[in-house]
């Protein structure tokens, strides 16, 4: 996503990313990031919380107006209502990221990509 943002910015289209993986986006470097400190999956607000979603979307629009230069990160002022435990558990042995079936499918996709690449199709 960050690479697409950079390309659009290079070519004259302003962008804002609404994202949860702050370190990854900032490592790449983008024009504007609205950082929402939520679990991967809901960067635009918690499910069914419309007021929060509207507020976050509004903050992203405001950031388009207010950012004066690149690498501008604003943190949305919300904490995940289910607590912070997810931060300790994500990508740990205790809680594998993918269940076994998903991992098989993920590996199949990766293999398919390698095959297409070898055939010069991608």
């Amino acid at each position: 996503m960050s690479l697409v943002s950079r390309y659009l910015e290079e070519n004259g289209i302003p962008t804002v990313i609404i994202g949860a993986a702050r370190d990854i986006v900032e490592h790449c470097g983008v024009a504007r990031l609205l950082f929402v400190d939520f679990p991967l999956g809901n960067p635009c607000g918690e499910p069914e919380k419309l007021a929060m979603q509207r507020s976050i979307f509004g903050q992203a629009l405001a950031l388009l107006e207010t950012a004066e230069g690149p690498n501008t990160t604003v943190r949305a002022p919300y904490d995940w209502s289910g607590g912070e435990r997810w931060k300790d558990l994500i990508f740990t042995q205790e809680q594998p990221f993918q269940d076994p079936d998903e991992e098989v499918e993920w590996k199949e996709k990766k293999e398919l990509y390698r095959k297409l690449k070898a055939e010069g199709k991608t």
Partner: protein
């Protein structure tokens, strides 16, 4: 509590899973920046997302990769009813949350609301999905230019980007 350091966390995690070569996240010295060219209230806005957003009524639910297509970019009409949308991705924290509410990662309803209230000029006719590629080169050389081309075709002024 501070934010999760995904680069460190995933490096350790995949090492422990037997993947020895750590993923090299993209990194650059400079960051491009384009200031707004006109007020938001006059701007045409699109969404671009890597959330693997999909439309239930599509006849072919395969990803471009599965179809053997070169570009990972696809279009979703902005007037698609939100009930028709869902995500095909596994890459989210399924222990902490769900993807049942599309607007939590593809804020199409919020975008239409912003146009209805006059906060933005208009919603672009087309919104975009980009499947995550395994190759950064491909993202830079094929997918990103394809997003740009489609945005220019529809005179898009601004893009809101949402990873999942």
């Amino acid at each position: 509590m501070t934010h999760v350091k995904y680069i460190d966390r995933t490096r350790e995690y995949y090492l422990s899973q037997g993947y020895e070569k750590p993923y090299r996240w993209a990194n650059f010295d400079d960051t491009p920046f384009t200031p707004l060219k006109k007020p938001l209230a006059e701007s045409r806005v699109t969404l671009v997302s890597t959330s693997e957003i999909a439309v239930r009524s599509w006849d072919d639910q395969r990803t471009p990769l599965e179809k053997g297509e070169a570009a990972n970019v696809y279009s979703v009409s902005a007037d698609t009813p939100v009930e028709e949308l869902y995500s095909q991705t596994f890459d989210y924290d399924k222990h902490a949350t769900s993807l049942d509410d599309v607007n939590t990662y593809f804020p199409i309803t919020r975008l239409h609301e912003a146009a209805a209230s006059g906060r933005i000029g208009s919603v672009a006719p087309t919104l975009y999905g980009v499947y995550n590629a395994y190759s950064q080169r491909k993202t830079r050389e094929i997918d990103a230019p394809e997003v740009l081309r489609r945005c220019r075709d529809e005179d898009v002024d601004l893009a809101i980007l949402t990873p999942v």
